[in-house]
């Protein structure tokens, strides 16, 4: 009759963790490739409106952002609660958009300039008046490709 022979002492064998760093590094590289660095500090509160028929922005490097919304709480003492335009890192007015667009154009390579998209990130409670002003200004600087930023929502 065969016998089961117990080898050595019982107890948990230690787990081989030598490949753990490799796994973590892989994760790290995955995140490094798929994400972008946060470049601007948000100064306005933006809750994007919901939409269902949204499309992805194809070239993120070719887009510039215009944030419109109420200033964040810590800035409300200085700027009030009216909706304001944020370009890059500071509050701006509609008249500054021209310079902003020109500067953004400068940054893109020559071949890609025509594909530049201006993404309008506006809060859902903003009135259309300010958006219309922005749109008119964009038309004047012939930055015609725009995108109304929205988050995916359900059909009601």
């Amino acid at each position: 009759m065969a016998k089961f022979v117990r080898k050595g002492k019982g107890g948990m064998p230690s787990l081989n963790t030598s490949s753990l760093p490799d796994i973590i590094f892989m994760l790290l590289f995955f995140f490094m490739v798929t994400t972008t660095l946060r470049d601007t500090e948000k100064l306005v509160m933006v809750k994007l409106p919901e939409a269902t028929e949204i499309v992805k922005l194809e070239r993120k490097d070719l887009s510039s952002y215009i944030n419109i919304g109420t200033p964040i709480l810590s800035k409300q003492g200085e700027y009030g609660t009216d909706a304001r335009i944020q370009l890059n890192d500071s509050f701006k007015t509609v008249d500054d958009i021209r310079d902003f667009i020109a500067a953004e154009r400068e940054n893109k390579s020559e071949a890609d300039r025509n594909f530049m998209t201006v993404s309008i990130k506006a809060d859902e409670n903003v009135r259309m008046g300010i958006i219309t002003d922005v749109k008119q200004e964009l038309r004047r600087c012939s930055a015609l490709k725009i995108m109304y930023s929205a988050r995916s929502g359900k059909v009601k």
């Binding site: 030598s18 995140f31 660095l37 949204i54 992805k56 922005l57 008249d95 259309m128 958006i131 038309r139």
Partner: protein, 192 residues
């Protein structure tokens, strides 16, 4: 003297270092993909005396949103939920109604003749309209066009629009152009 083997480097903390890097990266980056409704603005008219493009009255549906976010399309007050069907009916014009847009036989590359609707959706808003309802209306209009395209793709290619290949998508886009016009602001009274 005793011979010593090459000592192994203790790599036990390597995982911790990698974790630290990973967490640093996770907190400093964003992963939100930018999504939204893409539009092309009409170029600014070069001169003052703008050439009037005569568009037949029947070819245009005016969608208006007022300051109280109330909607009017084609002369009647509507709810946002009704807008999509209204626009589908307007653009497709299934019964060839006299009051709805005319169709023009166009030669589409790689497909042949197809009656392309001349319909145009014109969207007008007030300065007091909320952005939320504006986007909702924009969304409904795009949804109407997407539905028409899907129907067309379904009947001709037996596939949804999104499933078609590049050339077929172009055919569908040519057959059903997304003609939305964001009108000049009517109430921009004072200019700086």
């Amino acid at each position: 003297m005793a011979k010593r083997g090459i000592q192994e480097i203790n790599a036990g903390s390597m995982a911790d270092i990698a974790f630290l890097l990973l967490i640093f990266w996770l907190t400093t980056t964003t992963m939100d993909v930018d999504k939204g409704l893409q539009r092309r603005l009409p170029p600014m008219p070069e001169t003052e005396n703008q050439t009037d493009i005569k568009i037949n009255q029947r070819n245009i549906i005016v969608v208006k949103i007022n300051a109280n976010d109330r909607l009017m399309a084609g002369g009647e007050a509507l709810d946002v939920s009704q807008l999509k069907d209204k626009i589908i009916e307007f653009i497709t014009n299934p019964t060839n109604d006299e009051k709805l847009p005319e169709k023009e036989m166009k030669d589409i590359e790689g497909f042949g003749q197809y009656p392309v609707s001349k319909g145009l959706v014109s969207l007008q808003n007030d300065r007091g309209t909320s952005y939320d309802s504006y986007i909702k209306v924009q969304n409904e209009i795009v949804r109407a066009f997407n539905e028409i395209r899907d129907d067309f793709a379904m009947s001709k290619f037996n596939k949804k629009y999104a499933m078609l290949d590049e050339t077929q998508q172009k055919i569908v886009r040519d057959a059903i152009p997304q003609s939305i016009s964001e009108a000049e602001p009517k109430d921009v009274g004072k200019r700086k």
